[in-house]
Structure formats: C-alpha cells, structure tokens
Symmetry: C2
Subunit: 251 residues, 2 copies
Amino acid sequence: MRVFVLPGEAQDGGAAELRGRDFHYLVRVLRLAVGERFQARDAGGALRACRIASIGADFVRLQLEPPEAEEPGGPAVALIQALPKGRKMDQIVRQVTEAGVAEIVPVFSRFSLSRLDEPGDRERRVERWRRIAREATQQSGGSRVPLISEPLPLEGALDAPAQEGELRLVFHQERLAAGSLHAALAGVPRRVTLLVGPEGGLAEEEVARARERGFQPITIGRRVWRTETAALFAAAVVQCLLEEREAWKPA
Amino acid sequence: MRVFVLPGEAQDGGAAELRGRDFHYLVRVLRLAVGERFQARDAGGALRACRIASIGADFVRLQLEPPEAEEPGGPAVALIQALPKGRKMDQIVRQVTEAGVAEIVPVFSRFSLSRLDEPGDRERRVERWRRIAREATQQSGGSRVPLISEPLPLEGALDAPAQEGELRLVFHQERLAAGSLHAALAGVPRRVTLLVGPEGGLAEEEVARARERGFQPITIGRRVWRTETAALFAAAVVQCLLEEREAWKPA
C-alpha cells in the first residue's frame, strides 16, 4: 500500500542517492538488494519505477525510469489556513494531506496566535510541515506531496489573482449566505481554494475582504469547529463531493 | 457560542449541584451570581434555562427550567470504531463529536492493537472518552453529548439488529462496490451507522460479516487513511450530505 516518495533533493535526473532514514527504510527495513525494483513517487508527484543501482555503507543509489502515465486527477484543492496555536498546524498538515489537498498556504490572520517571530522559527516550521506532508503522502499512497508555501499575511494570500476556473470558499461558523456546498461545487471548478480561520475565527473585515476577493461563505452545520477539525472537515467534504461529482446533481 | 453541558450525575430532576471544574467555570470564570441565568444542555441533550440558586465555598446549586422545544435534528449518525493504538481514540472521540456524531461504539476487531487488558483500564478509558465528548460538545455548541458505550467485540456490534430506517456503511480502502455515498444516502435514512476499521484495517472475514449484516462498503478516494483521519472523514462527509440533503439529488 505504501508508496515511497523520493525527496526532491535526492533526485538528479534519472538517478537518486538516498541516505539517512530513507536508506534505512529501503535497505534495512524492506531489505531491497541491488537490481531489485520498486515503485516510488518523484518530488513532482509522478510514479516512477526505481531500480537499486548500488548500496553503500550508508547510502543507496537508484536508477529511475521515465514517469509512468497516470489517469488525470480531479480539480486541485488548496487550503489557506490561518495559523493556529502551537503544534496544531502539524495535525492539519497531516490530515489534509491524507484528504488529498494539493497545496497548503499558512497565513497570519488578525486572530492568529502564532507569529513565528523567533529567528529561524519559520524556516524550521516550514521544513517540519514539508516533512510531515511527505510522510503523510507516503503513508496514504497519495500521488502528490502537497506544496507548502512560506507563511504570509492573509491579505497577501487573498489578493493573489484568481486562476481560471478557480472556486473560492471561506468556511465560516455563521451562516452568511444561503448557498450550499453542493450548489457551489455544481459548476465543476478546475481548482478549489478553501480559507479556514484560526481558533478565534476570522475578523469581520477579513471575511469582508475575502468576499470582495471572490470567496463564497460556506457553513456546514450549526457548530463551532476547532480550527484543526474545521480544516479536515472542509477538505474532506469538498474532496468527497468532487470525487462523487458523477453521482449527484444540484436539486 | 459555548453552551454549558450539565454532567448527568449532577442533575436531579429540576435541580443540579456542581463542584470541581464546573463550579470553577461558572463561578470563577463566568462570575455568575445568585439569581443569574444561563443556558445549558442537560445530560439528555435538551436545552434548559438554568438559574443560579445558591453558591457555596466549593459548589453551586442550579434550578433548571423545563426543556425548551427545539427544531428536530436530522438522522442520528453512529460510529462503530475499531480501537486504534494508544491515545488515538481520544482524538477520534473529540473530532467526531465536533462533527455531530450521536453515538460511538468502541469495538475490538481482529487487528485492533488495543486490548485494554489491565485491570481498571476499560473503566478509565470509557470515563476519559465520555469527558472528552462532553467537553467537545460544550466547545462546539453541539446539542447532544454522544453516547459512548463500553468497548465490545466487533461481532457483538455487527449482530445488533438493524433499527427501522437504519443505513449501515462500512468504510473500506479498497473499492468493493460501485456505489457512491450520495447513492447510499439518497434514500433519506432515519439513522446512519458507520463502521471504521483500526490501523491494520478490518480482516476479510470481518468485512464479509459486516456485509452479511447489511453494511454497504463505501470507498472515498484511492487513499489509505490513518484510522483517526478515516473516522472524521467518514463522519464529516456523511453529516454534510445529510445536512445538505435538500441541495442535491442522485444523478
């Protein structure tokens, strides 16, 4: 079930050299020998056949075959997530990766309690999230490691120009509009961008700005979600409706 | 947003006496005084107006008004969850409570790594889950604390006779049938029971037995979920489809 994911820095064209935990996993855990083959995803998400070319004391060299053709996926789902407190973002990255999100944009919003102000803090966190995303992709047999951008102010993420066929949704705990998620997704978007607030929610002016920038407010249930549950909930329901797009029509 | 939930053991007809953290919350945090009123859910989930009748050094007595009428909810969702390793069940209980699940049935399945064999283990865990469920209901402003039963063998849960209008679904990582979740939920069930396996999945004979007992296999995506993500994913998508039942029809 598990599909190995090649770390980007290890790959050099048709070859890759792995050390550390990847070396350990392939050589010590899977016990692959020279000449044996296995499937892996490259850093771009393509499925590649790999052959063990050589094994050293602490490294393994792979020879990669050209990418295999795959059925095209559905629309990409991106998550703009206002940074929650402490380590909650780790869980969000792990769970939404499992849910198939293609891109995660961490943002600082007005009520974000995390500022990552210490020197080196941002770099360490981003590196950590990328590692979690890579592991989660691997464990879930996913086809693509989500892109995780450097944290930026919410305004920066909102002001990015919409892509063609992009549907923008802001998940909000108060019912701001009558629309359902089914109605919003009925138009078969090519890309869906979800905005989820931090623990304290988005400020009124942030919701207003998001709406100006084309984000439709969506409410599911009459509940107040913790932000880490809201992110997965949003990703899960959007993914399910997209994947089952042939099975339903708007009423 | 927060709705206070009365612990079952505190309530005695039209009165309740609270101590410990509930006392602290009402008297020290909310600073309610004698004669003041607030809304709470009673242990049965009904919304009750409460009046502070008296305050002692370490207790507060409440006077409860009769339950208020509420709009009826949708179909109840129950989760039969095969016990995962360690403390993962805590996260599952917390997140599916937020997602509005009405009942959680922890079960031991063939690949469950948790046996809760130590003396007192089960009692402590069940008590812990019930406390987590109560807190999560409170924080999310939910209307009803989910019932959590004592852990039992999977067979016991599967063999329970189906209730009238009950839809039974088993979430499985391999696509066992062509059916979509939309098709399964189109029949407007009165109750939905979800079965989610442990880390190692359900054994083949367990899936076979579940199918014999009327559980329809459902697959979302082509991914392998960790069990704690699978449970919330399943609860989230079912809840969303039920809540938006007026917004879609089967294709």
